[in-house]
Every structure is written in structure tokens, then in C-alpha cells.
């Protein structure tokens, strides 16, 4: 095998259109070990990105010693990315939390589980008595397991009765969910990864697939190098690896996505490149769209987006003439303003072309995090479980019957409270209890100085449940040590609806407890009961929780009733819906072009794309979509914060292939950490010249909210745009939880603003200024040289490699 740090996508196994993607099994074992030394292999899948790569953990003497891809699995056919190969080592890091901590005299000190849970329960009961359930907020993750999310969801909705629940999935995938609900009636990915095998055109909208989902890019690369390769279009201001391979690279200004989308729709309609019969039979709203984009010519969009009208035309021709079109979207669209509006237009392109539900014809509204799909499905993000509609009384009654509680117990008077609003209520002092599980808002939310202030508030009781003493945990009143992947059992679902089983391989360290057991213990101590006086939560183990979840999904789009742990054991992951009708799962949704928009069945009646105003049931009935997809146009508006004056440059944040989220795990895997050891800032060559900045110089980037300092990488990024990776916080810095004079977190600068529909924060549109504060001292930026952060010109800087350890 090649060095997976130097060549993260490995060697090619080309295949032609419609062919079978060959198996390639990747493996990494600790130095000096071979397969013969391994005691046993334990089945799981990756939780360090959203692709869902299936793998087995190698166990020797009760310890994890390596991983191997599962050749039998539909998602990766044995392949692994660098985070899959090396990330598992973090489990055994010495600084794992092994005992609960409680705050005493301002310091976090070790305590027993009994003492820690007592504190949490005492606080909860007091607050419930004093202020009621609306004083409680839960902020969870995209990295727990389905069984844990569902349990948390039931505790919040039917135990306490609070609508204030969300996950960090709000930051990565909320727009995917919102766009799917808006167009197709419910959440649920229409397409399949296998559409890559069949497509003759692939368009990546703000999706740097090479770094977000390395294995998915391997699949695309193998198509690009096989016979009949697809045409490739990439929309991204950075010169990502997919952009370098693209037939058309639209390096547009960030903050202009919707202008581009409207021009593409204009071209399709203008040139008659749409399926009139399909549009007539299976959609509502086409005429409004036609009117809305009538003036959106390529020239108009070109002047806004900063790309050529010819490239927009070329793109429209590719989309308009494709026979099998696959589109994918991610943070470039989701973390920009007008996020849901722009993401919906991608759905519309497919509706116009009638390209859904057939091999190669798919939309993949991507997830950013590994188990984000389950956060959305179970309602741990505040939605109602199994894609039920908070505004539909019958749906609430179904849950009340299932849980045997009074319907009034379940908060359903309005849309769920999104993360930014939960933190706002905490800031205002109306939420006084915040339980944060498996995530790190002190690094990942916008405008960090504000978040730190909120987490430090005297009147806010903060519980943090995590593996390590993260930046956020340092603000907690109680810290609960949790187990993780490889130590606990459960299931999770990837972006293309593939459900995987993940089994415990090794014992957890110290007194760390399973997330499920922590939630169950809380429910027990709080004595949550159903209306007959029986315990509200009727399960004790992961498999029982899974069975309870199956019952909840019966008859809903994410139907799990045909799945069991046994069925998921041994073979490939399986795509929901999986039920009596589809016992082996379902590759693609909407093959018959009947969508989930029936008023009685849909998850959302609709929202205005400009303001987020809710559509009422009556309005939905009047529109009578009844199984037809809903086309909803929107006019482009510029971002509220535009570059100019004191802040002349556009600011965008993003990830690198070697790290996940806030590096809680990946910083503790030496190969990954060494590949991207510290923060950097990407600047275009012409901006660097104007600013007098050279490679490796230390620059200070400032926005109206805050500043960060890091070494500069002179890269091929679009002129006028500055990029910073969001992974770097302070846990391994002298500050611990805050900059302490050395700010390096990208979110010190980002704006407190969100998309009006999905409520996803705007991490990719903001205005900044840059100045040099110190020279390079002869060292280049610590940015990888083999990814989108590659230097613009050939240089003598050391290349990113894994060295002997890889």
C-alpha cells in the first residue's frame, strides 16, 4: 500500500460506466504486526466523516491494533481514507477522561459517578420545579449512535418536555434536511453512492469531496480514469483536487451561489432542456420558477459571481444534455447565506430534467458528520422522530401513543429551537441548564468570544459528556467521561441512507460509561414515567433501543422495520427504507416520481425562503401537491456582510482531509496531526503581493468580531478570498479553553447569523482584513501540500508525507 498521508486516495482501480466498482481492501496495523497476530476482527464503520466507510477493528490482547476495510460493503468496497486508517489510535490516548469531574471552588475535581449524577439530577429537579421544562437545553452531536440519540430525544420530548434540543448537525447538515423537506416533502436522500457508477455528468456544488469524503472521491477518480468517464463540474472558490480535474471549474465569489443557480435554471428553460412531461406530471410551481429566473441570464450571474458567462453556459449545456446527472452539495452551499434557497435549486435542476430515482440520476444533499443522519431522523436535533411534522396533530398523537404519554407533554407548538437560539436563550438567562454531548461549541460555533461568555455564565449549569477535556468541557459544571466507537455497540446511518452496525471491540478506559447508559441513568434518576406510571424509557441495551426505534419508524420514509442487528452483522450495510416490501433495503427513493408531499404525510408544510415564514396546513392543502414535488424559486440577494472599507476581503472557513471537527480525536493520531499540525491562512498570490505577505509569514486576520493569527499559505485560492481551517482550538495550547493572547480558531471571526430556513450558521460569508505581524523564520505554513491548500507555485517546501509511521 502507498503512504496514505502522502497519497490519501491511493492507487486507482478504474472502471467504466455502468461497471462494478472493483474491491480494494485497505489495511493498517501497528508497526511490527501482521494479520496472523490479530486475535479477532470486530465489525464497524467510520465515524470521522459522513461517508460511512465500513471497516473491521483488529484486536490483540484486548487492545485495538489496527483496521481493515470491509470489501463486502456497498459504500467503500474495502477502501479506507486516512482518518479511517489512523483515527482509531485516539481511543487509547493517555489523556482520555476516566472519571467524572465536578466544579468545586472554581476548579474541576474528580468525583464519583454517584456524586456527579446526583448533582445533575438535583439541579434538574430544582429547575423543573422552579421554571419548568423550557429552562432546559440539550446540544448534542453528529457522532453518537442512533440508539443514543433516540433515547435522548425521548427524554427531552416526553420526559422533560422541552423543544430546546439540537445537535452540531445544525452546523453541517441542517440545510440538506431543510432542502429535502422543502422540495420532496420529507427528509431522505433521493440518490445513492452507486449513482457515481452510472452518471455521465457529475456536478459538485460547494463540495470538496476529495477532503470531506476521501473514499467517495476514490470512486469518482476511478470513473474518471475508466472508459466513458463522466463530465465533471465543480463550484468552489478554492482550487480543490476535484476542481483541478473538472471540465468546468466555477471559482465563484463566496456568497453568490443562488445567482449561479438561477442562471443555470434560466438556461435550461430558455433552451428547452427540460422534461415537460415530467414537470407537468410530478411538480407544482414551475410557472413561478420560470417567471423568477426569466431575467437571470448568464451575463447577469457572471457579473455577480465573478466567473465567465461562457463557463456558466458550458455548465448549463452539460447539465442540460446529460443523460444521467448526479449532483452533490455540501458546505459551500450550506454554510453560505441563502443556503436552503440555493440547495433547493439543485433539486429543481433534477426535477426539470426528470432525473431522479434512476441509476446515475441522483441528488446527494450531503451530510458533514458521520451520524448526522440519525440526529435528524431521531429528533435529537429538535425535529420530531421519523420525519414527523411538528405542525400535524396526528403525527404528535402517534408519538404520544407510542410513548404512552399525554399529547400535551410533547412540545409541538412551533418549530424546534435551533442551536443558535438555544445559546441566545442561555445568554438571556431563560435557559439555565445546558447538556452538551460529544461536541465542542467553544471551538465550532461562530463568534467564539461570545460563546465563551455564555458558557461561563454564573446562571448556566453546563454538563459536558465527552472523551477528553475539550475546550468546552473546561467551562462545565459537571464533566461526564464517555466511551466511544469501538468501545460501545450501536448503529448509524450515512449520507446515502446506509445503516451500519458498530460493535464493541475493547473495554473502555477507567470509569468511562456508554453514552446510552448515561442517558438511561439520568432518565431513571429523574424518574420519568409514562401516563400509566411505568418507566418512560422501556429499554436498557442498544439492541432494545434499536427495536424501539424500529417501531417508531414504521410507515414513515425512514422505515427500519426490516432491519435487525443480526441482519446487519457480517455483510454489507443496508439502505433504508428496509421493511416487508423492501427486505433488502432501497437503493434510490422516488423511482416512481411520487414524492412525500401529501399534506397528511409530509414533514413540513413549507417555508418562505427569504424569511423562514412558515406555511400553514391550510395553505399546503390549497396548493395540493399530493405527491408532486414542490418547486419554490427565490431571488438572489447579496450577503449582509459584504467586503469593503475596513474589511476588504471575503472570509471562508473549511476543513482539511486529515482532521475532523475540532481535532478532539484526530490531533491524537500522530500521522494525522503531523500532516496538518497547526492552523494556517490561505491567501491568493495577488492579494499576498498587495499585502506584502510571503509564504509562512505570520498574518493577523480580523473581522468585526475578532481575530486569529497563523502562518500564511500562498495558494491558488480565488483572488479576494481568504480561507482558514476551522479545526484548531486551544486544548493543546497554553490557553486551554481560550486564546490567551494567541488566537488561532477560525471561528473567532465568523458572524452570528444563520440561514432563515435551515438555521445553519454562515461560516463561509464574512468580511475581513489581513496584515503581516511576523516573518516566516524560514518555515512555510503547516498546511498540507497535496490538497486544496497546496502552494500556488512550485516551491522547495517539504511535501506532506506520513513518514515511517504510515
Amino acid at each position: 500500500m502507498t503512504d496514505p498521508i502522502a497519497q490519501p486516495w491511493g492507487t486507482r482501480t478504474p472502471f467504466g460506466r455502468g461497471g462494478e466498482w472493483p474491491v480494494r481492501v485497505d489495511q493498517f496495523l501497528e508497526e511490527g504486526l501482521s494479520e496472523g497476530d490479530v486475535d479477532r476482527w470486530v465489525q464497524t464503520a467510520s465515524i470521522l466523516h459522513s461517508n460511512g466507510d465500513a471497516l473491521d477493528i483488529a484486536v490483540k490482547d484486548g487492545r485495538m491494533v489496527g483496521v481493515r476495510g470491509r470489501g463486502v460493503d456497498r459504500v467503500n468496497k474495502g477502501r479506507l481514507g486516512p482518518k479511517d486508517l489512523f483515527g482509531w489510535q485516539a481511543n487509547a490516548a493517555e489523556d482520555r477522561l476516566k472519571q467524572p469531574l465536578v466544579r468545586k471552588g472554581g476548579e474541576l475535581v474528580e468525583a464519583t459517578w454517584d456524586k456527579a449524577m446526583d448533582l445533575i439530577v438535583e439541579k434538574s429537579k430544582g429547575l423543573l420545579e422552579e421554571k419548568g421544562p423550557l429552562a432546559f437545553g440539550f446540544y448534542t452531536s453528529g457522532q453518537l449512535f442512533l440508539e443514543e440519540y433516540y433515547t435522548l430525544s425521548v427524554i427531552g420530548k416526553a420526559g422533560l418536555g422541552t423543544p430546546h434540543m439540537d445537535g452540531n448537525t445544525r452546523l453541517c447538515t441542517a440545510t440538506a434536511g431543510a432542502a429535502l423537506k422543502q422540495t420532496f416533502g420529507t427528509d431522505g436522500q433521493p440518490g445513492s453512492y452507486a449513482d457515481i457508477d452510472h452518471a455521465d455528468a457529475i456536478v459538485l456544488y460547494g463540495h470538496n469531496v476529495a477532503e470531506t469524503q476521501a473514499v467517495l472521491w476514490m470512486r469518482m477518480l476511478d470513473r474518471l480514469e475508466g472508459s466513458n468517464p463522466p463530465e465533471l463540474v465543480v463550484v468552489d472558490p478554492r482550487p480543490t483536487l476535484p476542481a483541478q480535474r473538472a471540465n468546468v471549474h466555477l471559482a465563484l465569489n463566496n456568497g453568490t451561489n443562488l445567482a449561479l443557480m438561477n442562471a443555470l435554471l434560466h438556461e435550461l428553460i430558455e433552451n428547452g432542456w427540460y422534461d415537460e412531461e415530467y414537470v407537468q406530471a410530478h411538480t407544482v410551481g414551475f410557472e413561478a420558477l420560470k417567471g423568477a429566473v426569466a431575467d437571470c441570464t448568464p451575463e447577469w450571474a457572471a457579473s455577480i459571481c465573478g466567473v465567465s458567462a461562457e463557463d456558466i453556459r458550458k455548465t448549463a449545456r452539460i447539465i442540460g444534455n446529460a443523460e444521467r446527472l448526479l449532483s452533490t452539495a455540501l458546505q459551500g452551499f450550506y454554510q453560505s447565506h441563502q443556503a436552503t434557497a440555493a440547495a433547493c435549486q439543485i433539486n429543481h435542476l433534477h426535477l426539470l430534467r426528470g432525473m431522479l430515482g434512476k441509476p446515475g440520476c441522483g441528488v446527494l444533499q450531503m451530510n458533514g458528520q458521520p451520524t448526522a443522519q440519525n440526529t435528524r431522523e431521531t429528533g435529537a436535533d429538535g425535529d420530531l422522530p421519523a420525519f414527523r411534522n411538528w405542525d400535524n396533530v396526528d403525527h404528535i398523537q402517534q408519538l404520544a401513543d407510542l410513548w404512552n404519554v399525554d399529547r400535551m407533554k410533547i412540545p409541538h407548538w412551533g418549530p424546534p429551537t435551533h442551536a443558535m437560539q438555544i445559546f441566545r436563550y442561555a445568554e438571556q438567562g431563560s435557559i439555565n441548564f445546558l447538556w452538551i454531548s460529544a461536541t465542542n461549541p467553544a471551538v465550532s460555533l461562530p463568534e467564539l468570544s461570545r460563546i465563551r461568555e455564555i458558557l461561563s455564565k454564573e446562571d448556566l449549569f453546563v454538563v459536558v459528556q465527552d472523551l477528553f477535556l475539550t475546550e468546552t468541557a473546561r467551562f462545565a459544571d459537571v464533566v461526564l467521561p464517555a466511551t466511544t466507537w469501538g468501545e460501545k455497540t450501536g448503529t448509524f446511518t450515512n449520507t446515502d441512507r446506509t445503516v451500519h452496525l458498530s460493535e464493541a471491540a475493547v473495554e473502555p478506559p477507567g470509569e468511562a460509561k456508554h453514552d446510552l447508559d448515561i442517558f438511561l441513568e439520568y432518565a431513571k434518576r429523574m424518574d420519568f414515567r409514562d401516563k400509566d406510571g411505568a418507566p418512560l424509557i422501556k429499554w436498557e441495551h442498544p439492541e432494545e433501543a434499536f427495536e424501539a426505534w424500529k417501531e417508531c419508524t414504521s410507515g414513515r420514509p425512514c422505515d427500519y422495520t426490516g432491519l435487525t442487528y443480526e441482519k446487519l452483522r457480517g455483510g454489507s450495510g443496508i439502505q433504508w427504507p428496509c421493511n416487508e416490501e423492501h427486505p433488502e433495503g432501497t437503493e434510490r427513493l422516488y423511482a416512481e416520481a411520487i414524492f412525500n408531499t401529501q399534506t397528511e404525510y409530509c414533514e413540513r408544510y413549507g417555508t418562505d425562503l427569504l424569511t423562514g415564514a412558515e406555511t400553514s396546513e391550510m395553505e399546503h392543502r390549497a396548493m395540493n401537491p399530493d405527491g408532486r414535488a414542490i418547486i419554490l424559486p427565490a431571488a438572489y440577494t447579496p450577503p449582509h456582510e459584504q467586503p469593503g472599507g475596513d474589511f476588504p476581503l471575503r472570509y471562508t472557513t473549511g476543513r482539511t482531509i486529515y482532521h475532523f471537527h475540532t481535532r478532539t480525536k484526530t490531533a491524537r493520531a500522530p500521522q494525522l496531526q503531523n500532516a496538518a499540525p497547526d492552523a494556517w491562512v490561505e491567501i491568493s498570490p495577488s492579494d499576498a503581493e498587495t499585502l506584502g505577505v510571503g509564504e509562512g509569514d505570520v498574518v493577523r486576520v480580523e473581522s468585526p468580531r475578532g481575530a486569529m493569527e497563523a502562518k500564511s499559505r500562498i495558494s491558488g485560492i480565488r483572488e479576494g478570498v481568504v480561507f482558514a481551517p476551522f479545526h484548531y482550538g486551544y486544548f493543546d495550547q497554553p490557553g486551554g479553553d481560550s486564546p490567551n493572547g494567541h488566537p488561532r480558531a477560525a471561528n473567532e471571526l465568523t458572524i452570528t447569523e444563520w440561514d432563515p430556513v435551515s438555521k445553519q450558521p454562515l461560516f463561509k460569508v464574512g468580511a475581513v482584513r489581513v496584515r503581516k505581524v511576523a516573518g516566516s523564520a524560514g518555515e512555510s505554513a503547516p498546511a498540507p501540500t497535496n490538497t486544496a491548500s497546496a502552494p500556488a507555485s512550485n516551491s522547495s517546501m517539504p511535501e506532506t508525507t506520513g513518514g515511517v509511521k504510515a
Partner: protein, 152 residues
């Protein structure tokens, strides 16, 4: 003909609504969504007034005498806190309803007068006013339980 009077009334009401949206946005700037949406909607109201301008002139034989009482009664300054936000948005709600029904009246008159150009303006604006009302309703519904039950 009293259409001039009504056009003048709506023209003024849209401008006052714009001002009120801006004031509420500024007054509750810590609510990021309220701040931005109010500013967006303020611009929308100003655009409505601008589109009405030529018709005010065209039909203007006597200056409108009707004052926009709602604005003067409701909007001295914004309140603070969660409850203040609710009350301020409720005022915006009343003012946008005054515009909404005025659009309906003017639409009716435009039909009667066979004024296609005016009808076109009504068509493009009244839907936006309706959405403003829907947004206020959505946002107030979201805020009400927290503001009325737990906020200090």
C-alpha cells in the same frame, strides 16, 4: 375620487412600516435573525413605496389628509428583552396588516379603474406584505412560550 387619498395613505404606511422594521431590528440587534430579517423587510417596504410613488402623483388632485395613526400611536421607541420583542413585533404585525388591507382596497380600485399598471404593482407587492405578516407570526409563535413563561 378618493383613490389618491388611499394611495397616499398606503405610501405613507409603507414608509412608516419600513421605519418601524428598522427600529425593531436595531432595538433587538442581539437577535441576529430579527435584525437581519427586519432590515430586509424594511427595504422591501421602501421598494413598495417607491413603486407607488408615480401613482400617488398620477391620481394626486388633493393631498391626502389621512394621517397614519397606527405608526404614531404604536411607535415611539422599541422595548427591550424577550417580552419587549414580542410587543414590538405585535406592533409591526398590526402595521403590516394595515398595509395588507390597503393593498386589497387599492387592488379593487385599480380593477374598477382598469389601471393595468397599478394592478401590476399591487400584484407584485401584496404577496410580499402577506409574507411579512407570516414571518412576524412565525417568529412571535417561536418566541412566545419562552418570553411569557420563563424569561425574567
Amino acid at each position: 375620487m378618493h383613490l389618491a387619498n388611499y394611495l397616499g395613505y398606503l405610501h405613507k404606511a409603507e414608509l412608516h412600516l419600513a421605519e418601524a422594521f428598522r427600529k425593531v431590528g436595531e432595538g433587538h440587534a442581539a437577535e441576529a435573525d430579527v435584525y437581519h430579517t427586519c432590515n430586509t423587510l424594511a427595504k422591501q417596504c421602501e421598494a413598495h413605496a417607491e413603486m407607488l410613488g408615480p401613482f400617488v402623483d398620477r391620481y394626486d388632485e388633493e393631498k391626502p389628509t389621512e394621517p397614519d395613526r397606527l405608526y404614531h400611536e404604536l411607535f415611539d421607541e422599541t422595548r427591550s428583552g424577550g417580552l419587549g420583542l414580542l410587543r414590538d413585533m405585535q406592533d409591526l404585525y398590526l402595521m403590516s396588516h394595515a398595509c395588507d388591507i390597503a393593498w386589497t382596497m387599492i387592488g379593487q380600485a385599480a380593477q374598477g379603474a382598469g389601471d393595468k399598471e397599478l394592478l401590476k404593482v399591487v400584484d407584485s407587492c401584496e404577496g410580499q406584505t402577506a409574507t411579512q405578516i407570516k414571518w412576524l407570526r412565525t417568529r412571535m409563535k417561536q418566541a412566545a412560550p419562552q418570553a411569557l413563561l420563563v424569561a425574567s
